[in-house]
């Protein structure tokens, strides 16, 4: 039996992409991804656009119907495709929430902020009367650094950072245990990003939240996460404790990803030796055989083209999928 709070096993999400009958094509957005998250912990998920990190988060919440895999939440099955178990999501929706990337597109422009936050309270019938509903809304707004005055305003009256706070208040309104944060800071200005990151940390401490924090900015993810998973073309390539992952990455993709990040320190930037990867990310419609990273990998061998590398625990709690781990390190 699974002992972890969040346990995802062999998750697959294929999207149909044209073709008929036996020629039907699929985009393998997420392909055989497994991980767990402990209660109160933050797992960061990083990777380039199209690597499947957002799809992973959304499929977990069944915003997409999973193609294959199993997901248990605190011992309860959210879905198990092999056993065809798809329980009613409504009770789970109260326990799992999501904060979206774009605070401009994810709030209904014709609803007041109070109603946006209150909608989830209505759906789950959490308030006895209007008075209690109002108090709950104000309480949530105050939690995220807004106040009662803001409840009657519309989203367009707010700045990007404030809108993201509204999005977070909406997710918190049902008092969830687990939140998928899907690039919540990418659309914000640098000076505002730190405010929002701090708020996520405070809320986690106060409410005992568990996060899946999805972003492409490795420095921000490292800051907020206990552990980090790195994805490439639908597959998880490495997963480890955040400090360990940055200090001693094992997978060649993680290595190049870390070295590609521009360092905000001129002296270090002048010294640093960047590993600049050649080429582009291949199309997920037609991914390379074997290891999907082999077309850009400086260490690729014939074996990499033939076999998909196995997902192995290399050191304690440090997982990676690469044929040549020992040779490289």
């Amino acid at each position: 039996m699974s002992e972890h709070f969040i346990e995802v096993e062999h998750l697959r999400q294929y999207f149909p992409a044209g073709g008929f009958g036996s020629k039907k094509k699929y985009v393998r957005a997420v392909d055989d991804v497994s991980f767990f998250i402990n209660k109160g912990e933050t797992l960061g998920l990083v990777g380039e656009s199209g690597c499947g990190k957002t799809t992973t988060g959304r499929t977990m919440l069944r915003l997409y119907e999973p193609t294959d895999g199993r997901f248990t939440f605190d011992g309860d099955v959210v879905f198990d495709v092999a056993k065809k178990e798809f329980p009613n999501m409504l009770p789970f929706r109260k326990r799992m929430q999501i904060v979206f990337q774009d605070p401009y597109a994810s709030l209904d422009p014709r609803m007041t902020v109070g109603d946006i936050v209150g909608e989830a309270i209505d759906v789950h019938k959490l308030a006895k009367d209007d008075k209690e509903r109002y108090d709950m809304i104000i309480h949530m707004l105050e939690r995220v650094g807004l106040n009662s005055e803001h409840a009657n305003r519309y989203p367009h009256e707010f700045s990007g950072g404030q809108r993201q706070r509204v999005g977070i208040a909406r997710a918190l309104a049902v008092n969830p245990e687990f939140i998928v944060c899907d690039e919540p800071i990418s659309a914000l200005d640098v000076s505002i990003q730190a405010q929002v990151i701090n708020m996520f940390e405070d809320l986690q401490e106060q409410m005992g939240l568990t996060y899946l924090f999805i972003a492409h900015d490795l420095s921000a993810v490292k800051h907020i996460s206990n552990r980090i998973g790195v994805m490439y073309l639908g597959r998880m390539v490495e997963l480890a404790d955040s400090y360990k992952l940055i200090d001693r990455p094992l997978h060649p993709y993680t290595k190049s990803l870390i070295s590609a990040i521009p360092i905000a320190d001129p002296k270090q930037a002048r010294k640093s030796n960047r590993i600049v990867l050649e080429g582009d990310v291949p199309s997920p419609l037609n991914p390379p055989s074997g290891c999907t990273f082999r077309t850009r990998c400086p260490y690729a061998t014939a074996e990499c083209a033939e076999k998909v590398p196995e997902w192995k625990e290399i050191e304690k709690d440090h997982f990676a999928a690469c044929h040549n781990i020992d040779k490289i390190n």
Partner: protein, 333 residues
């Protein structure tokens, strides 16, 4: 007197929107020598793009240049007609836009779009222009240039499209290349490729670059000089080392403090800049950063601080530095 390639003096530019006047640029001065790389950093709406666009005569309606001199390579940009401007644009001064997905024309082939620039500014024949386009694609590291010339933008990846944009920008070997967030829409590994390419080409062709970005990491590795903008003003200017190791303005200090670092060994809480960015329709009186500044004094809320200079290039606009100056002055007497 040194002649600068770009010399913007006291530029003032406003957008006259239905809601009121937005002072997008308020007394902005920038200069840049040949072959230098200047980074302009700031939040969205701070005026970094507007500054660069105005230098190309690309101020969009309802924007209006209200004052100041814009000198570029011996031209007085502010007095030039659109017709004269067209001769320089794409020839002596070029731009790469942020979003390579939308800045190429989807109904023309890549080759067509590169050749257009060449044929417009030189008297090369069609065949010669095609040869030159091929050369350019090779220069920006695109393989199989012959094949790419016939492709349409949608057939290329984001990184490739940005390379094509660079090829177009470099077609006439400009003296100045403006890069407006050239890598913001790209993934980190592709960003590293493009930044490396830009630096290589700068060495090869000797052009000056104005790099507009909000990413302090990008400017740290690329730029010799950095201008920090806030609410339509350059609040601090200096060499990369000045800005990163001896920042003088509270906003610059806050910005550098607030970015999460990769090299920390244990968890440290981030120190954000509190408050929200300026509402440009109703900017505060005095220093625009004062409402968010934790060391703001009474005078900051009343009056815009004057320029304080440190050394030859480094300057800032902040009353706190004036205070130091005043005290220093007092102790000398």
């Amino acid at each position: 007197m040194a002649e600068y390639l770009v010399d913007i003096k006291n530029e003032r530019l406003s957008f006259f929107t239905p809601a009121g006047e937005v002072k997008a640029l308020n007394d902005v001065s920038i200069h840049l020598g040949e072959g230098e790389v200047l980074g302009i950093v700031g939040e969205s709406g701070s005026g970094k793009s507007v500054t660069a666009y105005s230098l190309m005569g690309l101020t969009a309606h309802p924007g209006k240049l209200l004052g100041g001199n814009l000198n570029f390579n011996g031209h007085q940009i502010e007095n030039m007609t659109e017709k004269e401007m067209r001769k320089i644009r794409g020839n002596e001064i070029s731009i790469i836009f942020q979003d390579p997905m939308t800045s190429l024309n989807p109904v023309y082939t890549v080759g067509n779009q590169i050749m257009e620039v060449i044929r417009l500014h030189t008297d090369k024949t069609k065949q010669e222009a095609k040869e030159r386009a091929k050369e350019l694609l090779e220069l920006v590291g695109i393989n199989e240039p012959e094949k790419r010339l016939k492709q349409y933008p949608h057939e290329l990846s984001g990184g490739m499209r940005q390379r094509v944009m660079i090829a177009i920008a470099l077609a006439c070997e400009p003296k100045l290349l403006i890069a407006d967030e050239p890598t913001t829409a790209l993934d980190v590994t592709i960003q590293a490729q493009i930044l490396e390419l830009m630096m290589e080409l700068k060495e090869k062709l000797g052009m000056a670059i104005i790099m507009i970005t909000h990413d302090l990491g990008v400017v740290a590795s690329m730029c010799e000089r950095i201008a920090v903008m806030y609410a339509g003003k350059i609040i601090e200017y200096g060499t990369a080392d000045d800005i990163f190791y001896h920042p003088k303005h509270q906003y610059t200090k806050g910005l550098i403090r607030s970015i999460p670092r990769l090299d920390t060994k244990e968890h440290e809480r981030l120190i954000p800049i509190e408050g929200t960015p300026v509402d440009m329709l109703n900017p505060p009186k005095g220093c625009p950063f004062a409402p968010r500044c934790d060391e703001a004094m009474k005078i900051c809320l009343r009056e815009m601080p004057p320029v304080t200079e440190f050394g030859e290039v480094h300057y800032t606009q902040c009353w706190l530095n004036q205070k130091e100056e005043m005290e220093k002055g007092a102790s000398h007497e």
